[in-house]
């Protein structure tokens, strides 16, 4: 008697690897559009971040006594690195990416036990770490590296290698998380209220967001990612915008910054988000509201990273408050046993 020895003997065939691979594939349209608008720097970011992530995963698995093949097997390291790369300004210097990766992989991910144990979204933790440590690297000006010419490639390469001394001024967006470069520094709220549906300076961002939205919809249709978090987050953002800036600002807000990337790909990160059914809805709403709050009244360029980290802090509490009532139990089972 060989074969299956544990029950049930049937398995649905779901695998963490296929889930993460699908998410990576659905990122492609967004990456392609980013490439068009932001130049080769996007690809270089992804390349450097993934190389760093692989190296750091190897170190982490040695330190933790795991097999490297096992820890790379589910491809969550690649996904996390790609998200981090997309969050940072295109053609960031390599050391900035490396620093973000070190924090993301070693501290935010493995120090807490890896995978589902990490309480904070590793990509966003890494992003915020370098944002706090080297704010000057987030000047949201892009060198001449945008465009897809040979010269642009050379420029992007020298940016990445950290050889560019003073970045030349540019107009396009450096990173999806840095939309406010296009806006007057303060007060942001008034600036948002004045904006119409299509404003020239944000065209790039709108296309990038639409591309990520497309990928996100594929994720929902294939049920790779469940709908509550993305939809609740977008709803939360729309509600907050409507309340404080009026209905006309809703669509520009939703298509700005890293909204779609965050809603479908970052906030849905399984380990750090809320997990119960109602908890997911609350988590999404909270993230959405926090994004708009940071955008309107905060100091940071885009609310997404801060908002997601904030929601990560709240996730265990949300899960506790929204824990499901077990079938056959009166209202809240564990409160009554605790009493």
């Amino acid at each position: 008697m060989t074969g299956a020895a544990r029950f049930p003997v049937m398995h649905g065939g779901h695998h963490a690897r296929t889930i993460n691979t699908r998410i990576l594939l659905t990122l492609l349209p967004g990456i392609a559009v980013s490439l068009m608008f932001l130049g080769y720097g996007v690809l270089l970011n992804i390349l450097v971040a993934n190389v760093c992530a692989l190296a750091l995963e190897a170190i982490a698995s040695v330190l933790r006594g795991h097999k490297l093949a096992d820890s790379l097997d589910d491809r969550s390291a690649l996904l996390s690195a790609t998200l981090l790369a997309l969050a940072l300004p295109a053609a960031s210097p390599w050391w900035l990416l490396a620093a973000a990766s070190v924090f993301s992989v070693l501290i935010a991910r493995h120090a807490f036990g890896g995978g589902g144990q990490a309480p904070f979204n590793p990509a966003m933790a890494g992003y915020l770490f370098v944002l706090l440590a080297w704010p000057d690297q987030f000047s949201y000006t892009v060198s001449a590296a945008n465009g897809l010419s040979m010269a642009a490639l050379q420029q992007a390469l020298s940016d990445t290698l950290g050889m560019t001394v003073s970045p030349t001024d540019g107009l396009a967006m450096a990173t999806p998380l840095a939309h406010s470069a296009m806006l007057p520094a303060a007060p942001l709220l008034e600036a948002w209220q004045g904006q119409g549906l299509l404003f020239a300076s944000n065209t790039a961002n709108q296309w990038i967001n639409l591309a990520f939205l497309g990928g996100g919809i594929v994720l929902l249709i294939t049920r790779t990612v469940r709908w509550p978090i993305p939809l609740a987050m977008l709803t939360g953002m729309a509600l907050m915008t409507w309340l404080f800036a009026g209905a006309t600002a809703i669509v520009p807000q939703l298509l700005n910054g890293a909204t779609m990337l965050a809603a479908f790909f970052i906030a849905t990160d399984a380990g750090s988000a809320a997990i119960t059914r109602r908890g997911r809805l609350l988590f999404g709403l909270l993230t959405g509201c926090a994004v708009i709050a940071v955008r309107f009244w905060g100091q940071y360029p885009d609310g997404v990273a801060v908002a997601i980290l904030f929601a990560n802090f709240c996730a265990p509490l949300l899960d506790l408050l929204a824990r499901p009532r077990i079938l056959g139990h009166a209202a809240s089972h564990d409160r009554e046993t605790a009493a």
């Binding site: 060989t2 074969g3 049937m10 695998h15 589902g116 399984a270 056959g328 139990h329």
Partner: protein, 520 residues
């Protein structure tokens, strides 16, 4: 006749491949007699039957060969005529307790039967008479394996308003009830009426699942002119689980740790209903059931009307097994069954399915990985537990939190393990967790017991000391008091009085601990 389509109150669950079609090609087949029949004398872990025949006796078909040993036991009748060759230990499929004493019957091939006493019109009888007939027939529930009469007896203490006949059979492979219903729907409907009569239930509902066109059509035919209702549930597993079924059909939630009778429902399996019909209308005691023989290692999988006691290997032989491919055998379905290493285990009332599987059919499980907290298990759990949390707590061996997060409510359906992308055998963890909780409860009980005894002992010593004449160091006017106390009859040390005293003392200590301020 009323029926509704796809009424669904169940949340969660899964929709695995059903893999029933091949097996359902054939009708329910009669079975040639095996060389020997093995009849276990234990039905559940602690109850069973006491033999009333001895080794060497010749018995006839339907003859009673063992009496119920208790309220939860059931009588056993000979499935065919033959000679009792021995009473010996034998492996059985459904409890892990190990071998169990069994009657071994060698059929003589004549199949000669005792005279049966059918009841012509059950409605003309008293319900008590019907109940006693069912009790005598030794019927065991086809789902739970507990005696039908014991379940029916619940209707005497609690009024039952809804009787549910469970023909859902949502587990993959298993199609014994579906095949049986296609041919014997009339019997099932009759049996339902008998059970309704005996339990005095107001409504009777037969629950079936969509995707069983043959069974549903047969049931609709049989239900013409009957007050019994038909409820068709949406596809998916584990919709047939007793408590979930009650919830889906009536909207009532069975309270944690109680049986459906707590919400005025009784649930019987469709096979049990048919057996009840045969017991009353034909006078036949329970001697057989329909069993599904499935699996990729069988050339002709089919359903058999199998006599109780038939070795599983006999049934497998009848389906043309491919011995080269046949690598594992399951008794029960792929979710509820167990791996079976001894193929001579007998068919019992509980055994609904035997799967002779190949290696590729149920591949060896993938390596278990870390939980990624994806929440798939939460979505799959029909009881609304948080399996990822219970898994964590099982690993941490935290019995208290396991219990408070509802491990006792887990129905071990395996839906969470089926969807887990990290291939964590969650059900196995929960079984281990259950054992832990059980162990801790026993320890707590024991410690309470010994604490009780210790306190009583202390109390008695104290009382004894008070009642003893204080011999020396007392002043003169207390001496008389002590003397009179000594002469009075020693008050009996009752445990009740002691308990009250101890409780008061404990309360005093607690009050002192809670308000450390007033240490007066």
């Amino acid at each position: 006749m009323k029926w509704r389509l796809f009424k669904s109150r169940m949340r969660g669950g899964i929709t695995p491949e059903t893999r029933k079609r091949v097996t359902l090609r054939s009708r329910v087949m009669p079975m040639p007699l095996p060389e020997k029949l093995i009849l276990p004398l234990r039905h559940t872990a602690h109850h069973g039957a006491v033999p009333i025949v001895a080794a060497g006796d010749h018995v006839l078909k339907y003859q009673r060969i063992a009496e119920a040993d208790s309220e939860l036991g059931a009588a056993i009748h000979a499935p065919t005529s033959g000679r009792i060759s021995a009473i010996e230990e034998h492996n059985i499929h459904d409890h892990e307790a190990g071998p169990c004493p069994c009657l071994v019957l060698i059929p003589d091939g004549d199949d000669k039967s005792v005279d049966l006493a059918p009841v012509a019109d059950f409605r003309a009888q008293h319900p008590q008479f019907i109940y006693e007939r069912l009790l005598e027939s030794g019927l065991l529930g086809h789902g739970s394996g507990t005696p039908l009469a014991a379940k029916l007896a619940q209707s005497k203490s609690t009024p039952i308003d809804t009787l549910i006949i469970n023909a859902v059979e949502s587990e993959p492979y298993v199609c014994a009830d579906e095949a049986m219903l296609r041919e014997f729907a009339d019997d099932v409907v009759q049996g339902a009426a008998i059970l309704q009569f005996a339990s005095a239930a107001e409504r009777c509902i037969i629950a079936c699942q969509s995707g069983k066109p043959g069974a549903i059509a047969a049931l609709r035919n049989a239900l013409v002119g009957s007050t019994t209702e038909l409820e068709i549930l949406a596809p998916g597993y584990p919709r047939g689980e007793e408590k979930l079924l009650v919830h889906q059909v009536t909207g009532r939630e069975v309270p944690s740790g109680q049986s459906p009778a707590a919400v005025s429902c009784l649930v019987f399996n469709a096979g049990t209903a048919r057996a009840a019909c045969l017991a009353i209308n034909q006078g036949q005691p329970a001697i057989s059931r329909v069993v599904t023989l499935a699996g990729a290692a069988l050339r002709t999988p089919k359903n058999f009307e199998a006599l109780f006691g038939t070795p599983v290997s006999h049934l497998i032989e009848l389906c043309g097994p491919d011995t080269a491919l046949h690598s594992q055998t399951l008794t029960g379905g792929p979710f509820s069954g167990t791996l079976c290493s001894d193929l001579s285990v007998p068919v019992s009332a509980r055994l609904n399915c035997v799967i002779a599987a190949t290696d590729s059919e149920f591949p060896a499980p993938e390596a278990e990985r870390d939980c990624i907290r994806c929440g798939e298990c939460i979505d799959a759990c029909p009881v609304r537990l948080q399996p990822q949390l219970l898994y964590q707590l099982s690993r941490e061996r935290d019995a208290g939190l396991l219990a408070s997060h509802g491990l006792d409510d887990c129905i071990e359906c395996g839906a969470c393990a089926y969807v887990c992308p990290s291939h964590i055998p969650l059900t196995d963890y929960f079984r281990a967790g259950r054992e832990l909780v059980q162990e801790r409860r026993q320890q707590a009980e024991l410690s309470a017991h010994w604490q009780d005894r210790f306190q009583f002992h202390q109390y008695r010593l104290k009382k004894d000391r008070q009642q003893k004449p204080v011999a020396v160091k007392t002043n003169p006017h207390e001496k008389t008091a002590a003397g009179t106390e000594n002469t009075t009859a020693k008050p009996a040390l009752s445990r009740e009085a002691a308990k009250a005293d101890i409780a008061a003392a404990v309360a005093r200590v607690k009050a002192r601990r809670d308000n450390p301020g007033d240490k007066s």
